[in-house]
Subunit: 364 residues, 2 copies
């Protein structure tokens, strides 16, 4: 049975670009296909010959074609795209302008974790939420929007991490369980380097974490917000296609006041409030098992009722968890206090709104 070019092209349609997660046929990367006596010669066009995923692409292409009945041998050649081919791939935008990654991202739910006040455990809740969603088998990313005090990488990467390189985008770092992470600290030479930027630069960096990072297909993107209701929070709530905001509080009266400010801001920009989690609710002495309200008595249900948001649960102060956070091993946390919160949240998150940004992504 003679192999036809049509059969070969059908097989190629099933080969995905490992980075963009789209068919190489759809991406216009198949420049030429020749079939002769069961021998297939394919020429693929790459955005750059320095593409780090070149070998995998070659292997996948060969494997797909060898599955076609009658194919005896496969020759995969690679060339660089012409300027016109690149322009077709990238659309109207110029490569230098950024925003290319956004075209290839598809994120179902964007959930921000916010408290207004610092140090109540936003980053911890964001990390536990991402870990819990990942344990359910979902595809999860974490965008660390705290540019001046980023906590996320330290919780997930015991030995630090670098983002991947790609000609068209920044690739997020991946944790041991496969959570994709982007944080300014992944881009700094030293983790304790100060980022002394005024508001517009902070906002610009956060926008780039959305438009220039190749998140790919995600079920959830968890956004860890910094304290406050200024530039970073405003930019996330106004520029990203938010599904909703998860509020984090602590038993301190001060925290309650500031969380109410945060809730008011979220309402003003028209984003749904998904619920309230109280962190640092109590401390259980590991030796005696006795419970201490070290930050005062806790009434998160009343606060949630005042804010008219669902109360999702309480988290104790757990020295083991603090230690796991400090050593980049939050994903191995055994405590189950957070999983019910993950379950409830994953049932209630609306799909992400279309992005409110200028020049919205095409092809999503």
């Amino acid at each position: 049975m003679a192999v036809t070019e049509q059969q070969a092209r059908r097989a190629l349609a099933g080969v995905m670009d490992p980075e963009l997660q789209r068919s190489i046929v759809d991406l216009g990367m198949v420049r030429d296909v020749k079939v002769s006596d069961g021998r297939v010669t394919v020429t693929l066009a790459l955005t750059t010959m320095g593409c780090p995923l070149k070998d995998q692409l070659q292997k996948d292409t060969r494997a797909a074609l060898l599955k076609v009945p009658g194919v005896q041998s496969v020759d995969v050649r690679m060339e660089e795209m012409t300027a016109e081919e690149k322009a077709r791939l990238y659309g109207d935008q110029k490569q230098e302008q950024g925003g290319l990654a956004e075209k290839f991202n598809h994120v179902e739910h964007v959930v921000a974790v916010m408290s207004g006040k610092g140090g109540v455990g936003k980053s911890l809740v964001a990390a536990l939420l991402a870990t819990g969603l990942r344990r359910k088998g979902l595809r999860v990313g974490v965008l660390d929007a705290d540019i001046t005090g980023p906590s996320i990488p330290k919780m997930f990467f015991p030995n630090g991490a670098q983002p991947g390189s790609s000609p068209i985008a920044i690739l997020p770092a991946e944790t041991s369980t496969g959570i994709k992470v982007m944080s300014i600290n992944l881009l700094l030479e030293r983790e304790d380097q100060a980022v002394i930027w005024r508001g517009p630069l902070i906002s610009g960096a956060i926008r780039q974490f959305w438009t220039d990072v190749l998140w790919g297909n995600l079920d959830y993107l968890v956004v860890d917000l910094p304290p406050g209701t200024s530039d970073a929070s405003l930019t996330v709530l106004q520029s990203l296609p938010m599904s909703g905001v998860l509020l984090v509080s602590s038993p301190q009266g001060l925290a309650g006041m500031v969380v109410r400010k945060a809730a008011q801001m979220v309402r003003q920009v028209g984003v749904p409030l998904l619920g309230l989690v109280e962190n640092m609710s109590y401390f259980i002495a590991p030796d005696t098992g006795k419970q201490y309200d070290i930050f005062g008595p806790s009434h998160p249900e009343i606060m949630a009722a005042q804010l008219q948001v669902p109360f999702l649960g309480r988290l104790p102060i757990d020295p083991e968890l603090t230690s796991l956070c400090d050593y980049g091993q939050i994903e191995s946390y055994k405590g189950d206090a957070f999983q019910p919160i993950v379950e409830r949240l994953s049932q209630m998150t609306p799909e992400a709104k279309p992005p409110a940004m200028p020049a919205p992504a095409q092809g999503r």
Copy 2:
């Protein structure tokens, strides 16, 4: 013995404007003095006839003149200043432009409390520092530079507070022990109202808290910085005449990393680092007296050595203190863990640098 006009004018030179704390003669407020047979008639010029301190000024003037031997009676008349008199008082600046208060402020030491990270207890340390300095009999103010998450007023005022009104400036609120406080929350209708401002507005508000608030003569102005190394921190460190910065950390590894970022920023803008205080170091169970390292083991001395700053002390987590903070009664805290820190700090604070702001204050 006949009273002379010269004697009367000398007595008037000792009368201070209660608001500006300058002699009414120096301020050009004495428009006319007539002496006849032991009867003195004085005409004072006020910036506005609505001045809330008019009565006190009248009383003080009368009392000063009655002390002059031979004075039988005093008649104090009050008129409003002419435009020229006001211009002379205010200097070149127009009243509407603000910045008038700064001319009358004299602050010896400006100390900012910073950590980079939120929730490690900056505001608590700032409030304890102010309280401790005040207990030593010093004149103390607290400038709350956390515009989106202000904690200071709640710690000092059990029933809220309003700033005073004055024709030329904002008057800080005063605590029960006489600490002067300015915070955005004193200017809001409701304490949990959100302030959703981008960086330039945040910076503008902080600058106004320096230029438009009548702090008067202070030995110490303690500035409570928000988390982060962005607009608020930059503005304080660059625009205020800083004596130095006190760093606050917690045992969490995350906090350590972010505090190192903050220290780097302070060094970059050329402000002295006064030392490091560790908060939340441990928790002592009130029933058993046992100590728990609930946020992990603590090595602040090592951290201080790495940062090359003096280590000033540790503060435990004290539920009583949390409760006092939540009820506006921090000034009645009995614990003495903080007083040694106050002592050391008050020995090492350099005098405030001349301000680096455009149009520096005259007459300081």
